[in-house]
Symmetry: none
Subunit: 184 residues, 4 copies
Amino acid sequence: MSRTRSEQAVWRREQLLDAALRVFADKGVDGATVKDVAQAADVTPGLLYRYFASKEAMVETLLSERGFLPRLLEWRAQGHDTRPATEVLTELLEAFDRLLADNAELMALFFSAAQARAPLATMVNEGQRLIGDFLRDRVDAGDLRPHDTVMAAKTLFATVAINRRFGTPIDIAALVGLLYPEEG
Amino acid sequence: MSRTRSEQAVWRREQLLDAALRVFADKGVDGATVKDVAQAADVTPGLLYRYFASKEAMVETLLSERGFLPRLLEWRAQGHDTRPATEVLTELLEAFDRLLADNAELMALFFSAAQARAPLATMVNEGQRLIGDFLRDRVDAGDLRPHDTVMAAKTLFATVAINRRFGTPIDIAALVGLLYPEEG
Amino acid sequence: MSRTRSEQAVWRREQLLDAALRVFADKGVDGATVKDVAQAADVTPGLLYRYFASKEAMVETLLSERGFLPRLLEWRAQGHDTRPATEVLTELLEAFDRLLADNAELMALFFSAAQARAPLATMVNEGQRLIGDFLRDRVDAGDLRPHDTVMAAKTLFATVAINRRFGTPIDIAALVGLLYPEEG
Amino acid sequence: MSRTRSEQAVWRREQLLDAALRVFADKGVDGATVKDVAQAADVTPGLLYRYFASKEAMVETLLSERGFLPRLLEWRAQGHDTRPATEVLTELLEAFDRLLADNAELMALFFSAAQARAPLATMVNEGQRLIGDFLRDRVDAGDLRPHDTVMAAKTLFATVAINRRFGTPIDIAALVGLLYPEEG
DNA sequence: CATGAATGAGGCTTCATTCAT
DNA sequence: AATGAATGAAGCCTCATTCAT
């Protein structure tokens, strides 16, 4: 109602991105039309071009602004160091899984956008590194037995990601228990 | 050159599927044009329609005829039963990994075809079941310690698949070693 | 120039229908291309699809909106009852003939649209009934001798229509004189 | 079986024309494809081009070789002169009507082929002249009262033709009775 | 800021026609 | 004589994008 010009502009931009994410995730970037996005945002196609230079620019904006890695990093920043490694690890993976679930649309976009291969790979690498760093810290601290932490990180990340992606969610505690049977 | 009509028809069909797979994997199904496929096959677009009813039909044919699960099942059919479980498991996963590597294009197609979600889910489920069955057999035979074989199958499958998918191949023996440290 | 949006839309729609009727009548529905219609309307082909869902929809719209029966019925609605039957009949047929002449394009469309057989048959039936009703009224009123009014209506209608259709227009007064020699 | 080369060629040509007539009448010339015709003739498309230079040539051949006016003229050639005019006229019109019924496909072709306007007009004119000549002869012979025979011919022809065309066949005796009430 | 009419490029598909076999 | 694989030219339609209002 009483939004300043600039507030309104920001709000509209977000609204358009929301709509675009929804539509792109649903139909794929190529499968979705600008008109689809406009309708999802309850707006006319022409308006999109006041906020984004092109359809492609919308995709790029989504990929860069809506990436969820930042949120994972935030999580990491909080100290969880005093509790058992497997407990924290389970929580970390659950946070990651929840992130994926909450961002199913974004994931679909990542997987579908042919052009988006690079951002996706980055995300995978970063995610694996995040988990790997955590594991190595805990091995160093003696909380976990020495093991191939890089491989473990890849395994954990992949398992959570792929099962979330294809609609077969898993019991993360069981996953952690599988890799760290003695620790639990 | 000197092919019979019927041979030529079969050959041409395969050639077109090859070209289509290559192009779809490269640009995504929606991003690729029928003209692209035709050019990749060194043929005019019209000809595609003597062999396939539509672009969509090409995708479906690729998904059903070129699925690689059949090949995995073949592998499974051969007896590998006399050797240590972890050795055979490593081989199974390597076979799977090689299959993915050899079929990078097919994988890309699976991941990109927005409408092809169902075949992909099937493939994931079947693959996990294949590995899970193997693990359970070996647990029953006392070759592996009792453990959550379903989860293990999911883990192994996911790890191999996702890392192959995003260009970060892994050391499969290390993966097996991670899950079955005592057995090796 | 200074038309409101809504006026413009109505005007454009009519303009497109005008062009379509002209072109379809000239080349036949199947023989005419969407591009032909667009060029006749001095517009790009894409625009047609803002106003009509398909080429076929254009044909259907023409058939239903531009049918001329409504105009005949208007004529009939006016009272012509006080004058001699043959005089009024002649006028009615002349009105009909004029309608056909004025709508040569529409007639051509009616005759050519293979799929549009139903509207055409309807038009024929309605036209015959209109004339037949008139004749029976006048027979009942004693203005015309008793005779097979249904057959007479068919005869009159057919004669006017077919001769107008194939470019051999006739003297309608002579036609009426042929069927009602004593009355004139 | 034992056809000479030349017999076979003639036979095949007729077979193709039969098929073409059937298909063109059903779908319209533009709506029918060469493949449609070939399939109707149980033959491959390529073969058509050994017998006709083009699809258009098939249409033209049908229009010129399969016109039914020749058959009407044959009928006329036989003497029917000793019997009452209305009786013979009824028979003539019935023969004409039957011809139209028997050649529904040809009629459909005549009406649909946009290019076939000229042959159709010719047919109409010839038919009207044939009937008109008959009427004038009988008027001259005193069998019919003096009247506008040209107009009568047009009327009779049109009525039979249009009603046959649009699936509303009529009682021809009643038609004749309408125009020649006293004579019957 | 917002609309939606209009464009132009290009996509999928069909089809008359040719030609090697 | 007959086939059917292959072509090339369109045809219908969609859609990202622009722009006058």
